[in-house]
Every structure is written in C-alpha cells, then in structure tokens.
Symmetry: C2
Subunit: 360 residues, 2 copies
Amino acid sequence: MKKHNFSAGPSILNHNVIKAAAESVIDINNLGLSLLEISHRSNDFIKIIEEAKSLIKDLLNINEQYEVLFLQGGASLQFYMSALNFAKRNGKAGYIDTGTWSSKAIDESKKVGETLILASSKDQNYTYIPEINEKIDNIDYLHFTSNNTIYGTQFHSFENISKIALANNTKLICDMSSDILSKEFDVNKFDLIYAGAQKNIGPAGTTLVIIRKDGFEKNNKLPTYLNYQTHIEKQSMFNTPPVFPIYVCLLTLRWIKKLGGIKSIEKNNIKKANLIYDEIDRNSLFYGIVKQKDRSNMNVTFQLKNKKHEDTFNKMCHAVGISGIYGHRSIGGYRASIYNALKTESIYVLIDVMQKLEQK
Amino acid sequence: MKKHNFSAGPSILNHNVIKAAAESVIDINNLGLSLLEISHRSNDFIKIIEEAKSLIKDLLNINEQYEVLFLQGGASLQFYMSALNFAKRNGKAGYIDTGTWSSKAIDESKKVGETLILASSKDQNYTYIPEINEKIDNIDYLHFTSNNTIYGTQFHSFENISKIALANNTKLICDMSSDILSKEFDVNKFDLIYAGAQKNIGPAGTTLVIIRKDGFEKNNKLPTYLNYQTHIEKQSMFNTPPVFPIYVCLLTLRWIKKLGGIKSIEKNNIKKANLIYDEIDRNSLFYGIVKQKDRSNMNVTFQLKNKKHEDTFNKMCHAVGISGIYGHRSIGGYRASIYNALKTESIYVLIDVMQKLEQK
C-alpha cells in the first residue's frame, strides 16, 4: 500500500531521490564500486560535495561572502558551536525562546557566557511567536529558531528581527533545521544559519551550515572540529565527511532545482498548508493549537475536541496508509509534517479522513 | 570489470552488505517506506540500533560495565571529546605519538590541559611503534592509536601498554579507527575506545564509542553533545543519530557474526597480510617501509626501489581493476589497505601484478 508519510523528521524524500540514492549504494558513476566504499578524496566524491554546495548557493541566492558547509553532529552540536564561535570574550548573547530547540540552544549558550532571553512565548506554552523589543542590550549575537517542529510555530517573516539586529549592530544567527529550502528569504541578513538535514534537505547524518566568512571572531585556541574556521579553510573536508547523506542532499537539491527552485516549492507549500488548516478550522471535531498568524507551514499541529474519537481516527488514518501523524510526546494530539517532498495528494487523503470522521 | 578495492577509507564493504543496504533505501521491513524517511524514534530504527550495539558487545565480548555508542563527528571530534571528559582539573595526559592521527589527538589534548609525549617514533618518520617507559608521570590517562593508516604501523599486542597503565593507575584510551573488529583483544583493559566507522565497521558518518561507565569524571558543565554522560543516559539517542550509516554497520556486524566472529576474521586477516608482505620481501623491485615486527595487518605500505617502474606498475594495476592502491600524499609510494571485507582473491591479483612486473 502507498504510504502518506507525515513524519516530523527524519522525513519524506522524493521517490526519485530515493531511487537514485539506492542505485548509488550499488554503483556510483559506473565505477564498479558502491558510493559507500570510495575515498572521500576521490574526484567522484569531490564533484558530489562541490555540486551540493553550489546548488545551495544557487537555490538560496548566496553570494561569495558566505561559505556553505556540510558538518556532523546535528543542530544539537551547532547550539554549542555557534555560541563558542560567536560569543566574544566577556560578551552577552540574546535568544528568542520559542520552546524546546531554542531552549536547548539557550542551555548551551549559558555554558559559554551570559545569555539573555529577549522574548519568550513560554507563558502560553509556546503556541505563538513572541514580539521582540526594538531596543536590546549590547549583545554579541541574536539567536532564534525559525520554525518549531514540536509546537508548530513559524516566523513567517524575518524582516522585523533582521531590522532589530541591524539597528543594534549585532550578529544574527538562525536555526533553520525545519524550514530551510521551504521558502524564499534573504541570506544576506544572517551571519550564521544552520540546519540538520533530516527535514527538507536529506536524510539524517549531516548538518548544513551557511556562514558569513567575516562574521565571527577567528580563534585558533578553539577545539579544531568546533572551529568554523577549520571547516571553511578545509572546505568541509577537514575530516571524513558523511559521504552518503551528502549525496542524498545533492539528489534532493537537484530535484528542487528541476521543480523550478524555492519560489515554486514555496507556492506549493503554502497551498498545502492552507488546505489542511482550512479543514482544521472548518471541521467541527478538530482545532488548531497555534495562534493563526504564527501557524507553521511545515508542521501542522491539531487536536481532537473530544478524545473519544481518537481510536477511530487513528485506525482510519492507518487504514489509508497515513504514517507519522502523532504529535510529539510532550504535547500529544496530532502533527502533520508537510515538508517539501510531501505531495498535495497526501494532504487530500488526510482531509478526506477528517471529513469522513465528522460524517460518522 | 570486477574491482579490487584497496582504499584506505571509506573502504571496501562486503557485497551482500552493500546489496542489503541498497534494498533498505527502497524499503525497510516492508513498511512501504525508505529507511531514510522513517523516524529515529520508530520501533523499526530502535531495533536496528539496539541490535547493532548488542552485536558489538557480543563480538568483542564486552560486559555490562561498558556502554556502546554510535556518535557523529569522527575520530577528529573524539580527539577533543576524550580529552575534555577524561582530563581531571589541573591534571596531565600522556600520549604515544605514532604520527598524524595521534599528533592530531595530542593537539586537541593541549587545548584541554598539560600533555606529555610518553614515546614517539618521529625520529624515524613513524616507521615503527615506539617503546614506552614502565614508570610514567602521574597522568589522568594514557592515549594511543592502535593502527596508523598512513605509515602502516600497528600495535600487535596491547599487553605491555595496558600493564603500564594498570601499574601507574591511569586510564587507558585508544583510537582504534582502523583496526577494531579485525582482531581479538581484551576490552576490559580500556576505559575508552573510539573508532570512525569507515574502515571495518561501515560507511562514513558514524563513530563507534565503547566506554567504561565508571571510568570518567561526570561533569554537567560540559557542552551537552560533548559529554559522554549525555549519550550514555540517552542510549545514543540524545539527538537524531545517523540512521543509514548505523544500519550499514549493523549489516556488517551480522556478516562478521555469520563468518564465525572476530577469531575467524583475524585468522583470515593474518593470512592476507602474510601473503602480501612475503611478496614485498621476496620481490626484487619492492621494499616495505615499516620495521617488520610493527607492520600493520590493515594498511600495507610499500615502495618501488626504482621509481622508473612506477608508470608501468600503475597501469598494470589499473588494467586488472585494482583501485585505491596509492600511498597517502604525505609519504607517496603504495598502500594496500586490506580490511576485513577485502577477499584473499584481491591479494592474489595484486601479487600477480607485482610478479609480472618483476618478470618484465
């Protein structure tokens, strides 16, 4: 049976990407060797990583002031690494707290230096994106999470936050793990962007980093792997990179390019999100938990008004091949993650189940 | 044409492992989903990582005092992480310098605290394994690299070094990236063992860590990702693990188990190494660069006595499908990496080319 994969991550990949990825495991470039067993210093792999970086630059319209890196350790390692590289001695850092991921980033920053919470939506269990005061303390950098996968909130514009960073002469850092490549935005407003690959970029095992080369304090005393300068100088080849995950990222990037780039992806993502949110608002059995204007176009969180329908709804979802629809264990309910590769067809299948439940 | 893959890493994997890995990219457990697009919290993946850990414990005869982890960042991140976790405040660490990898580990240790070089083979360009004095300074831990992939040296016994660590009441740490799972040894002598997967364990993208749970100072102030305690408590699931690389490790571990375990693998590795070293010593055109008793059973380094034969030898190798045979750029010459998955047949093909070159 065909599956409709709403998993929050690792998440759905385009089926042609999956097919080509499987082929590469058997043989890459007709070498008579698997991609898994060739040297990362071989021309075959150098071409792969260079094309992947170049496509990131192309799709996101990134200029020569930035370096694109493929690292390891996920956003979780970036929480610490970003603070370590961007916090000046005796400096302060400012964070926007939108729950879980930003809270974890805040914890790591506290291990490096003074850490201010500039805004938080904790008062309403992170169901909205908080406003930031225009005048902020003298901080080294401002950090925020563009999309929260657990609560289903999203910054729909970076205009205000980047204006505040600029006015206060502070660096801007963003964890875009769950919405990069899903919509157009201006990379030039940022000094550092990082994203675990396992949502819109590829499979688990690599982390995309986009860094403004003159945007941070170089410091040779930092641990070598944790120093962005190391990876900039070595072009992501300081040590053996995660070869296969990077290749699957390349396949996904080629697919996005072929589809017409981010503009076209974004149009489709908005359409998909509107379809499902409209049904949540219309359907008498469900409600959304996030403030309307801050609803995520990637992770759609919703609940049943009456828990007694839960079993029936779960069974109906299962019967039509819907998978990965349950909410994060910390908030329960449902979460439909509708990343780039999820087809509109899968949205219609979910809506149909919701409507049939209501009709029952 | 069938390839004979002597690559130093990422390196050869068994062909049935490759086949099963490719199948998992299309579909895992008949779910109708690729392994790349399922949640790392799903039962399907939990079973994979648990079986992989359990097979490591089984194959290496590891008891309950140890935890097996699959992390990211390679040995390069472990260089720093091991020092950070094992160096007590104001303590000293002792290192055996056998070139490149241990030199890099030493550099990271210096960023953490005082670092002593207890022995080094630098005086003869790292072509032998140095002796260590029985009486050493009061150090927190003793670190060594069991096999050097670049020079082709290997500790053939851990008896002496573990006896010295015990007599001096110091922890013992080993980077076994290039020879773990290739021979039997007693894990109980060690407090920490780490190994990048991309030699004998699996593809690039994950790092095996075997850690004695009571062997290090717990410290909640450490960066969360860099704290072994984090990964021990979260059972390698603190953040999204590299799902596919771990699955390929599992496939390799199953293959080793089926072959009869490490004892059987070791017997075959010794046979392969003897065949090729015997030919190097017999053949009038070649010589080995490493002191005989310290020659690696994993990375066989050798040179042509007369460089004028280089072109012919390279062409002859290429013609029969030999790949990855060139020495590391820092020392040149040749390096035949003969990891677990390389068949004896490939050794015979290489020997045949060496003999034909001599006959010419």
